[in-house]
């Protein structure tokens, strides 16, 4: 544990936390755009800046250290955040997310040259990072500097995309477009069909590519993933019924699950199986 000071108040922080983590835990408002709790700090949007010993630092990449004295409301902090917002508002004047954040800092219109006809991407790289962490790395930034944008390999349909939609669902400016129907989805110009339930043949909520991807990653058969909720639940119910009579029924054997607190009484054996789901 270390003690750090934020805006004159002391807070306890754990080793390895960032200043932004501590601020969020204690409801100290620090705006952030490129930060996502599931991903490693990136430090690109510079919205989360704070002042430490007269220097501006991004709080999302700043590890806590003993006796740090952080200011989140100094004039310099405000100026830098305002410049960043002014710049982002010029880059994507129609983004609701940016407009809202800018309004908090009293900016309603950029004083700079606004881009028109460009999408709302702020290049926070959340999409590419989410995708990379999943293990697909289907999309990436292309070009450099002010020309930089998010794209697919050679601008074509991304071969490695499994249509999980995580990129689109996590984009802070909702820039990535996708279409969803019961039968399938389209993202990055690539069409996906939903996988069929291996039992009842109804459409599941996973794309075929997702099923293949998860099966490959886990080493489990594809049927394992290609199952609709209905059938999965039916299977559970049956299992349960058997469980009461015979702990360690077929599913338990097949997948080697052991149960937590709720059913702790009933289960004695604790084999382990789906260890193949290793985190990357």
């Amino acid at each position: 544990m270390v003690t750090i000071t934020i805006d004159g108040i002391e807070y306890e922080a754990r080793e390895g936390q960032t200043v932004l983590d501590v601020a969020k835990e204690n409801n100290i408002p620090i705006p952030s755009l490129c930060h996502h709790e599931a991903l490693k700090p990136w430090g690109a949007c510079r919205m989360c800046v704070v002042e430490l010993n007269g220097k501006i630092m991004a709080s999302c990449t700043l590890p806590v250290a003993k006796d740090q004295n952080i200011k989140t409301k100094s004039e310099l902090v405000k100026t830098v955040r305002k410049v960043v917002l002014n710049l982002l508002l010029a880059r994507c004047p129609h983004s609701k997310t940016i407009q809202q954040l800018a309004r908090l800092y009293g900016i309603t219109k950029t004083t700079l040259k606004a881009d028109e006809g460009r999408d709302n991407c702020i290049l926070c790289n959340v999409c590419t990072r989410v995708c990379a962490q999943l293990g697909s790395s289907a999309i990436a930034t292309v070009k450099r500097g002010s020309e930089k944008e998010i794209g697919t390999p050679f601008g074509e349909k991304p071969p490695d995309c499994i249509g999980c939609l995580s990129c689109a669902r996590n984009c802070p400016t909702e820039t990535i477009k996708f279409e969803e129907t019961d039968a399938g989805r389209i993202i990055w110009n690539k069409s996906f069909e939903m996988a069929e339930c291996s039992i009842c043949k109804a459409k599941t909520v996973l794309t075929k590519e997702q099923v293949v991807f998860f099966a490959k990653k886990s080493g489990l058969p594809e049927e394992y993933f290609a199952k609709c909720d209905e059938c999965a639940r039916k299977e559970t119910a049956e299992t349960f019924a058997q469980l009461v009579i015979n702990p360690g029924a077929h599913i338990m054997k097949a997948w080697g699950f052991t149960f937590g607190k709720l059913e702790a009484k009933a289960i004695t054996a604790s084999p382990v199986l789906p260890q193949k789901f290793e985190r990357s």
């Binding site: 430090g43 590890p63 830098v80 002010s146």
Partner: protein, 617 residues
């Protein structure tokens, strides 16, 4: 010849020195990138033929060597003859016979090939009588141009690897760090961080693996000091790396070389192979328990790849984008292991510090900047090239002493130091000593040592625009302030130079600068506003002239200038013939006139008039 201990190495160094003493007559042909481009290899071949033809016994009576760069490329190809130190410039292969016949055999000087001092208009015979060299103090560049970089024996002959020997025999890692710290060596790659301190941080890390990286990316356009050192004295770089690695406890080294530097790569590869063969590099160096080997990594070519964390990513095969710090590379660098990244020139200073002692090095320089610094002097100055001076020399010493003053005797206006993200320093600061702090205090920086001299016909707004555009193109685009900020800054500057600037633009520039300077992720963005802030600081009136009066005082920004012919005109008609759009009229020997409606402001007439009769307004 593999040395199994430091004593063997010592013996070899002594015998190489003795051999060099024996053959004092040396004919040296510069084979740096610049001179090679001008045909110096053909000259060397021709000299060889002529010497053979006349039965001169090579390496007995005389040695003929291809050396590294002398830093005076503009006058290349260069051939020097020792021990007389005769300096021939702009030599051609056809001159070979004459050089051998007259200079080598008879000791005569060939006037035609001598250098003419542009200030005194006198011919100069000797190397060190040329003002360009006379006023320099060559420490890091001492061997460049004097030895054959492809021959390890040449390096031994000038005492090479005796610092490594000394370190292995007499010093423990802590002792090396103390010496480097006491010498006051600071990074020559940009930041000026104390090298010893950095090494100590890395030494303090416990890890199964540590790395030492030599940064030879040199992305700064116009700078070529690192290239010259890698090409001309590669073993010094290796020796510096070995000593550094020994100090921090690294056993793997990487030299990151810019991909446009094939000759540097070639010479480094040769040096690495030769050092390995000698047992100086590799497992159990010279029989000690210190093991260290070096590999070469070719850079991606982007300016930002020289930034240390981007460099790390690039070496690891990832996109060359900077990483947030902390963690600092000394703690978590290449492949997550403690890593020291040092500039080529920084490392090349290390053997000298060990050999000559920390005190000697510390004694050179000024305040907290010690030793020498190599600058790449370019722009509107008479002598351009690489110059090495002790820290604390003044800008005037360099520009007017070594550089010989401004081209065509025009007035000096400013000098931009520190590479593209350095600042412009005005005439009033010419007598300030050059050291890390003084340059920073004056709105510029040491950077890698770029120095661009500007005369009165330079528009400072245009200069700022030029550098901002360069940096905008080189920004990796990761963080918002740099990526978007430099783009907006360049829009504003462009408007101003086109006469479309508004009074509030100045305020906008200042505000943006605060955001970019403080908010950017890496030093590229953090320093990118220097050219703008420094020109605003010293030449704000020029900004106002563009915005309010629609005038460009430097006479550069086309939309704001007009060319006119004054009554100095003699009617020589030269300008009329030079004009690409034929808009100058006038009879022979009569005053000429420019048709402003047709004039494209190309400036051709201006540079063609020999009577100074054309003015820019």
């Amino acid at each position: 010849m593999r040395f199994s201990n430091t004593k063997d190495l010592g013996t070899r160094i002594e015998s190489a020195k003795a051999a060099r003493q024996k053959v004092k007559r040396r004919l040296l042909v510069c084979a740096g990138t610049g001179c090679i481009a001008n045909g110096s290899l053909e000259i060397a071949d021709a000299l060889q033929k002529e010497l053979d033809a006349r039965g001169v016994k090579l390496n007995v009576e005389l040695s003929l060597k291809k050396t590294g760069c002398h830093g005076f490329c503009e006058h290349g190809p260069l051939v020097t003859f020792h021990p007389e130190e005769i300096f021939y410039q702009r030599v051609n292969a056809k001159d070979a016979a004459e050089i051998v016949e007259k200079t080598v055999l008879k000791g005569e000087v060939i006037d035609r090939l001598l250098y003419t001092d542009p200030t005194t208009k006198q011919k100069v015979t000797k190397y060190f009588d040329i003002p360009f060299y006379a006023k320099q103090q060559r420490v890091v560049l001492a061997n460049c141009g004097q030895i054959d970089p492809a021959a390890i024996d040449d390096y031994f002959a000038v005492g090479g690897y005796s610092a490594l020997k000394k370190v292995l025999e007499e010093k423990n890692p802590e002792g090396v760090i103390s010496a480097v710290e006491e010498a006051g060596l600071r990074g020559r790659g940009g930041g000026g961080f104390t090298t010893g301190k950095k090494w100590r941080i890395c030494r303090g890390q416990t890890s199964d693996k540590k790395y030492l990286i030599c940064n030879g990316d040199e992305g700064d356009p116009g700078a070529f000091m690192d290239r010259s050192i890698m090409e001309g004295d590669p073993h010094a770089v290796l020796e510096g790396m070995m000593i550094g690695a020994y100090a921090i406890g690294a056993n793997e080294g990487v030299i990151y070389v810019r991909h446009e530097y094939p000759l540097a790569v070639k010479h480094l590869e040769k040096a690495i192979a030769d050092a390995r063969a000698c047992g100086i590099l590799g497992e159990n160096i010279l029989g000690s328990n210190f093991s260290f080997d070096v590999s070469i990594s070719r850079g991606g070519g982007a300016f930002v790849c020289g930034e240390e964390t981007a460099l790390l990513n690039s070496v690891m095969g990832e996109t060359g984008e900077p990483r947030p710090r902390p963690p600092y590379p000394a703690v978590e660098g290449l492949w997550g292991k403690p890593t020291i990244i040092n500039n080529v020139e920084t490392l090349a200073n290390v053997p000298t510090i060990i050999n000559k002692g920390a005190k000697w090095f510390n004694g050179l320089g000024f305040k907290n900047s010690h030793g020498t610094k190599v600058f790449s002097l370019v722009g509107k100055v008479r002598n351009t090239g690489l110059v090495e001076v002790p820290m604390g020399a003044t800008l005037r010493d360099i520009i007017f002493g070594i550089g010989g003053g401004i081209l065509n005797d025009r007035p000096f206006k400013a000098v931009q130091t520190g590479g593209p993200s350095g600042g412009c320093i005005p005439a009033s600061a010419l007598d300030l000593p050059i050291d890390y702090e003084t340059l920073t205090e004056n709105g510029s920086m040491m950077g890698s040592g770029g120095m661009i001299v500007m005369d009165d016909r330079t528009c400072m707004v245009d200069v700022a625009k030029y550098f901002i555009k360069f940096l905008m193109g080189e920004s990796c685009g990761k963080c918002v302030p740099c990526r978007e900020g430099l783009r907006q800054m360049s829009y504003i500057l462009e408007n101003i130079t086109e006469g479309k600037g508004k009074p509030e633009d100045i305020e906008r520039i200042r505000e943006l600068s605060v955001g970019i300077l403080n908010g950017s992720l890496c030093a590229l963005g953090q320093t990118a506003v220097n050219p703008v802030l420094s020109t605003l600081k010293y030449f704000e009136n020029e900004y106002h002239a563009h915005i309010k009066d629609h005038k460009c005082p430097g006479g550069v920004c086309k939309p704001l200038i007009t060319y006119g012919i004054t009554d100095k005109c003699t009617g020589c008609t030269v300008c009329a013939r030079a004009c690409p759009v034929n808009c100058i009229s006038g009879e022979k020997k009569k005053l000429h006139l420019i048709d402003q409606k047709k004039c494209t402001k190309c400036g051709a007439c201006f540079s063609s008039c020999r009577f100074d009769a054309i003015e820019v307004k």
